[in-house]
Amino acid sequence: MALAKITSVSGRAVTVPGNDIDTDRIIPARFMKCVTFDGLGEFLFYDVRKNADGTDRVHPLNDARFKAATILISGANFGCGSSREHAPQAIQKYGFKAVIAENFAEIFFGNSVTLGIPCACAKREDIAKISAAVEKDPSTEVVIDVAKQEIRFAGQTVPATFRETARDALVNGRWDAIGELLDGIPAVKETAKKLPYLAA
């Protein structure tokens, strides 16, 4: 199972401001009544993006200037709450390739990495600079350099951090662990012998 080595992600960006943006906001629970992840993209941020009648509300994702964005920028504790993988799935299926935030809730972070979505942590003042540059010129190319742990935009460079295990997994193309976990089954069976409750 060869996976892409995700050393950097680049593209236009859009800022969805705010702290503690929870996974219920990213994808409301009623859209999880599904047996596949297909089509989740259109429900991303649905309740803050749409009126009850389905018409658009004022929201960065509805702003024509940012329609081509592939990098999502937000605040602190992004993705808190439910463990639903539907949240990063919706983000990815909407067309985003990476997220920049001050920091991320843990389960969301792990779920995103498994889908090959780099989650870059940046300092608040640096996020403000990126957002300002994008706001000024929506065509600004933002480069998240996973390998070098930096974000480049409009001639500026700011540091970005990734959890080291996540950075390693992304740049070495082992962000989806299933292959490695399957390889480890002999070790699993060995260790399981010492855990009586696992006996069949």
Partner: protein, 471 residues
């Protein structure tokens, strides 16, 4: 060297170290439900994989199941499709399924403990963030995403980095009218909704020693609301007494050897903690949330904050956003806020003791006119226990609807939902925008007895006054 329970369980379940430095951790018990598992089974089929340990995988239905509709097909075809899918997947892969017909169906975090599947010194995973509930038994329990559900199905492991451990010690006796729910709301208010990122919480101290298993579960359940991926209480005699005789508990000679093994997992005196927090039980009051995350809580006697009293720019922005959504006046008392709906239930507070405590005080009282009040047992077994004791009668005579087991109004994936900007006094765990099914619906989290007090008065009330608690 003395070790914490977390370290011991982690090390006992480590199969090997992966190339990126994460651990391939054995997940001894895998709990699945209808919402986050169908895609995982789809992935298994795509990859041509089998379930490695079907005998360690247990399924139920809770999120989508209607609580006032018992006969299939359900009116909602999407709900029925999810029901059919979990049934089909369990049959195909040889997984035990606690379907309604078994009489053992319920919210996954209630079913595991009551069946004796949840045991000390084990690792547990489930595609649901409230899996931390199982930590009440001295297990390390993780909420996971669907790709990890696939990983656990196929390999009985997942890739994970070790967590730090924060010991949260609560000592002393809780004041009358203060419950386990108030303890965890107090902790989250104090440490913040992301204070636990990177940590497992070890709950300890004399307050927890004196807690029943159900009270411990209420606290561990909401660890994730404080950002902690796992939370646990060290196993003790209370734990073993709860587990004795349950369907999946060890029997005969195995019982004694397992209890001895379970005891060995408890944190050693003098072990290292990455952080320690101490709380005096007497400082905890009946707590109510006023905002849009579980950390935005206040004592029932306090006023809703105003932007002027904010401690930082972030705090100020948070207060402004929350007050606008909640339509609450800044600086006003929370007590007296009119409610529309009262909800008793959920994996946080949908157990026998929750309904017993409410019944004790609501007996002979009536839900205020115009208030929709529903009581939803967390499992079919809880429902039966309540019905045997006549608690359902007490609740229905008071004006509550008595429903069938499920997640119900905690998360709006079934017909139980708020309408418009209804305000709900809720014993559940999340007050996020739109959480209870209406994009403008408003949730106030509180203990079950506080929900009962709000139901009978029609507004947020101090249960200690409404039910004449004596200090």
């Amino acid at each position: 060297m003395p070790k914490s329970l977390f370290e011991k369980v982690w090390s006992a379940h480590t199969a090997r170290t992966l190339a990126n430095g994460q651990t391939q951790l054995i997940i001894g018990t895998h709990l699945i439900h209808e919402v986050t598992s169908p895609q995982a089974f789809g992935m298994l089929r795509d990859l041509g994989l089998k379930v490695l340990m079907p005998h360690r995988t247990f399924a139920t239905v809770d999120h989508i199941i209607p609580t006032n509709e018992l006969v299939e097909p359900y009116k909602d075809p999407l709900a029925q499709a999810m029901m059919d899918e979990v049934r089909k997947n369990c049959a195909e892969f040889g997984i035990t399924f606690f379907d309604r017909a078994t009489g053992k169906q319920g919210i996954v975090h209630i079913v595991g403990p009551e069946q004796g599947i949840t045991q000390p010194g084990t690792t547990i995973a489930c595609g649901d963030s409230h899996t931390s509930t199982h930590g009440a038994f001295g297990a390390i329990a993780f909420g996971i995403g669907t790709s990890q559900v696939r990983d656990v199905l196929a390999t009985q492991t997942m890739a994970l980095g070790a967590l730090k451990v924060r010991r949260i010690e609560v000592n002393g006796k809780l004041r009358p009218g203060v419950y386990a729910k108030d303890v965890i709301l107090h902790i989250i208010r104090m440490l913040g909704v992301n204070g636990g990122t990177g940590y497992a919480y070890e709950y300890a101290g004399s307050t927890f020693d004196g807690f029943s298993m159900e009270e411990r579960m209420t606290v561990c359940n909401m660890s994730i609301e404080g950002g902690a991926r796992a939370g646990y209480v060290n196993p003790d005699e209370t734990t073993f007494a709860y587990l004795k005789g349950r369907p999946y508990s060890p029997k005969g000679a195995a019982w004694d050897s397992e209890v001895a093994r379970w005891k060995s997992f408890a944190s050693d005196p003098g072990c290292h903690y990455d952080d320690v927090v101490k709380i005096d039980a007497a400082d905890i009051a009946p707590t109510v949330t006023w905002g849009i995350n579980p950390g935005q809580g206040i004592s029932i006697t306090e006023n809703v904050p105003s932007p002027e009293t904010a401690t930082s720019a972030d705090d100020k922005a948070g207060i402004i956003e929350a007050l606008a959504y909640m339509k609450l006046p800044a600086g006003a008392p929370i007590k007296g806020t009119k409610i529309n709906v009262a909800f008793l239930g959920s994996c946080t507070n949908g157990r026998l003791s929750d309904f017993q405590e409410v019944a004790k005080y609501i007996k002979g009282r009536k839900v205020a006119p115009g208030i929709k009040a529903i009581a939803v047992p967390g499992s079919q077994i809880v429902a039966l226990q309540c019905e045997k004791l006549g608690l359902d009668k007490i609740l229905t005579e008071a004006g509550f609807e008595w429903r069938a087991a499920g997640c119900s109004m905690c998360l709006a994936m079934n017909p139980d939902k708020l309408i418009g900007d209804q305000l709900c006094a809720s014993s559940s765990n999340r007050n996020f925008k739109g959480r209870q099914g209406s994009t403008t619906g408003r949730t106030l989290l509180m203990s079950p007895v506080m929900v009962a007090a709000a139901a009978v008065t029609g507004s947020v009330a101090d249960a200690r006054e409404v039910f004449a608690f004596t200090n």
